[in-house]
Structure formats: C-alpha cells, structure tokens
C-alpha cells in the first residue's frame, strides 16, 4: 500500500539522464544491482515487481540488459528522447572515464611494468567472468532440460567456441535451437499434465 503512495515518475529527460548516470558511475563489474537500489529504493520510479518485469524483458532481448532496460524505461516516460537520455546517462561519462584510463595505459603500454600490471588485471578479469559462470551453474539443477543435458550443452559450447574457435553464430543457432526445442517440449508436457 505504502509502495503505491511512494511511487513517483521521472520529471524530465534531464532527471532521467542524471539518475542513470549516477547509477552507472556506482557500478563496478556490472550495474544491475545498483540499478535496483536507485530505481526502486531511492527514486521509487519502479516497484519491486515492475523492476523484475522490466529486467526479465531486458534479459530475454539480445544486447546489454541494463541498456535495454534504460531504453524501455526512458521511452515509456518521454518517448525516444527519454530513451536517449537514459541511455546517454548510462554511457557518456563512464565512457569518458574508461577512455581516459585506456589512453593513459596506451601511452605506457610498452613499459614492462605496465604490461605486467595489465596481464595481472586481465587474469583477475578472467576470474571474475568465471565466477559468474560458477554462480550461474547452480541454476542448472532446476532446469527443465535436466542436469545431464545442460552439462552436455555447456561442454559442447566450451569445446566449439572456446576450444575450436568456431564462429559463435553457428554454435548459438545450432545448439540453441536444439536446447530451446527440448525445453519447449518439456514445458508444454509439464503444463499439459497439471
């Protein structure tokens, strides 16, 4: 009840830009957790339920989830200008920051110490991505596909994309259509029974 009373809407494209910029600048290694904090808890622009719905749409669509969410949210309030404002808020200043760091690195890339530093950071970056994979793997147990098929599909993806370096498009279209078809059949069968 109190949720609906607190609910607000963004007042202008400028406010959209500022809020999305603020959340982007707080997000290290992914902006989504900060997005919830800003949009739901601080601004009250979305309820928890609305946030989850927007997130699930953003996740089903291809492309960066947070950008998709910002585009749809901005568009909902101020049309294409809102979409542009939210998206620019997410990208412009963070892009300037990261470019500055990158140019600094490029100036000294030939220095063995700097090259070593970047190799170390790269190793950590690889580890960060792997940790996301490990966290995701816990959801496989409840997958409608069943654990053995999931493991087989993941292993086939690693072997073809990571090992054999096949183009991603063929692997995703090939394995993806097999996986989605099996999931569809099982979901439909489960619903038929209930």
């Amino acid at each position: 009840m109190s949720d609906t009373l607190l609910q607000r809407t963004p007042r202008s494209c400028g406010e959209l830009f500022r809020v999305f910029q603020r959340l982007a600048l707080q997000g290290f290694g992914g902006v989504l957790p900060v997005a919830h904090l800003e949009l739901v808890e601080r601004q009250h622009w979305l309820s928890d339920d609305e946030f989850v719905k927007l997130l699930s749409v953003g996740q089903v669509l291809p492309g960066p989830n947070i950008i998709n969410m910002a585009l749809i949210f901005g568009d909902r309030h101020f049309g294409w200008r809102g979409a542009l404002a939210a998206c620019a808020g997410l990208l412009l200043v963070p892009l300037a920051v990261v470019l500055l760091l990158f140019l600094l690195y490029q100036q000294f890339a030939a220095e063995p110490k700097v090259a070593g530093m970047l190799r170390g950071m790269g190793a950590a970056a690889a580890g960060l991505v792997l940790s996301t994979a490990v966290k995701l793997s816990t959801t496989l147990r409840t997958s409608v596909l069943g654990l053995p098929l999931c493991v087989l599909l993941a292993a086939a993806t690693v072997a073809t994309v990571g090992g054999l370096r096949w183009p991603m498009v063929w692997v995703v279209l090939g394995l993806g259509s097999v996986a989605a078809t099996v999931a569809w059949r099982r979901l439909a069968a489960a619903e038929g029974r209930s």
């Binding site: 982007a24 600048l25 997000g27 290290f28 749409v57 953003g58 669509l61 291809p62 492309g63 960066p64 950008i67 749809i72 997410l90 990208l91 963070p94 892009l95 920051v97 990261v98 470019l99 990158f102 110490k113 090259a115 070593g116 530093m117 970047l118 190799r119 170390g120 950071m121 790269g122 190793a123 950590a124 970056a125 690889a126 580890g127 960060l128 991505v129 792997l130 940790s131 996301t132 490990v134 995701l136 959801t139 496989l140 997958s143 409608v144 596909l145 999931c150 993941a154 993806t157 991603m168 498009v169 692997v171 097999v178 996986a179 989605a180 078809t181 999931a183 569809w184 979901l187 439909a188």
Partner: protein, 188 residues
C-alpha cells in the same frame, strides 16, 4: 601529447571497407548477445585477433581488464576494443554495431510487444539459453586468460579470483587491484 601520440587517433592502417565489415560483425553479435555482451567476447577475440589479426590477445584482454576496473556498464569494453583496433572511428563502429540492432529491437518490443516474458516460447528460449550462456562465460574466461595461461601464478590468480568471488560478496575492484599489484611486481 607529442606528434607520435596523435597516431592513436588514426585508423591504424584499416580501410573503410574493413570498418564496414567490422561493424556488420558487431551488429550480428549484438543480436546474439542474448545473455549480455560479455558472452560475445570469445567471438570478438576470434574475429579481431585470430581471423583479422588487427590486435593482439594481450591488447584484447587489456581492454576488458581496464573496462572492468572502471565504473559503468559492461558494454564499455566494446568501446575500448574498437579504439584499440582503429581509434575513435573504431570505437564508433564497434559501439554502433553492438548497440543499434539490439536497441531498435528493445524499443520495438517495449512499445509494441504484446508477448509477455512468461509466455511458453519465451520461457523455452530462456531455459534453453542458460547452458549455452554458461558455456560462453567459461569460454570468455578461457579466452581472456590467453596471455597468462602458461604462467602458473597467472593461472592461480584466475582461479583464486573466481573462488573468492563465488564465496564472498566483495567488490570486483579488490581482485583487480591484487592482479595489478602482482603484475606490477613482474610476477605474471
């Protein structure tokens, strides 16, 4: 900046045809990035490092590492990769290619999409993509580790970071800072 420094603003020897081809490749990846842009990193690396030879594996991994160390959405590594390949023009091409198709689709679905995310085909698609996403993320880790795979301390850093982040809720800046320190000492 000295005169040589301005070379970073050039196309690094690429032609406009190369840029167009790169833009189209990234536009295709945009539509394949169902579980986030990071899952397309292995194919980006295959295309830019392996197939075209425009940048080295070290440069590719460095671009991702710097983007991880800075605030903002993950997609910014695409901008740095583009900049490494062909300066500002490269940045515009890779970011434009990566953003435009998926953004147009998102806006269209946001406005006219009547099919809900909980409809059966959508749920089947999402469920089917999960194991592939897992495989793509593992491949990303493998590909990013290319510059240090033959150094034991580098491998330890990769695995240690992964183990730490799975067990503890800490800022990703800590392992990156640790990696930077270890690298600065010349150990990896």
């Amino acid at each position: 900046m000295n005169v040589a420094g301005w070379e970073v603003l050039g196309l690094h020897g690429l032609g406009w045809g190369d840029l167009l081809q790169m833009g189209l490749h990234f536009a295709m990846l945009s539509l394949l990035a169902v579980s986030g842009v990071v899952t397309t990193a292995p194919d980006m690396q295959r295309y830019l490092v392996g197939q075209q030879g425009w940048i080295s594996a070290d440069q590719f991994t460095a671009s991702v590492a710097i983007a991880q160390a800075a605030p903002g959405p993950n997609i910014l590594f695409v901008a740095l990769v583009g900049w490494s390949v062909a300066g500002p023009a490269g940045l515009l091409v890779t970011m434009g290619g990566m953003m435009l198709p998926s953004s147009a689709l998102a806006l269209a679905v946001g406005r006219y999409g009547r099919r809900r995310a909980d409809a059966l085909p959508m749920r089947a698609f999402t469920a089917g993509m999960v194991p592939l996403t897992l495989g793509l993320l593992l491949s990303t880790g493998w590909v990013l580790a290319a510059p240090i795979r033959d150094r034991w301390l580098g491998v330890a850093l990769v695995l240690g970071t992964a183990a730490l982040m799975v067990r503890k809720r800490v800022s990703p800046l800590w392992p990156i800072a640790a990696g930077a320190a270890v690298g600065l000492l010349g150990w990896v």
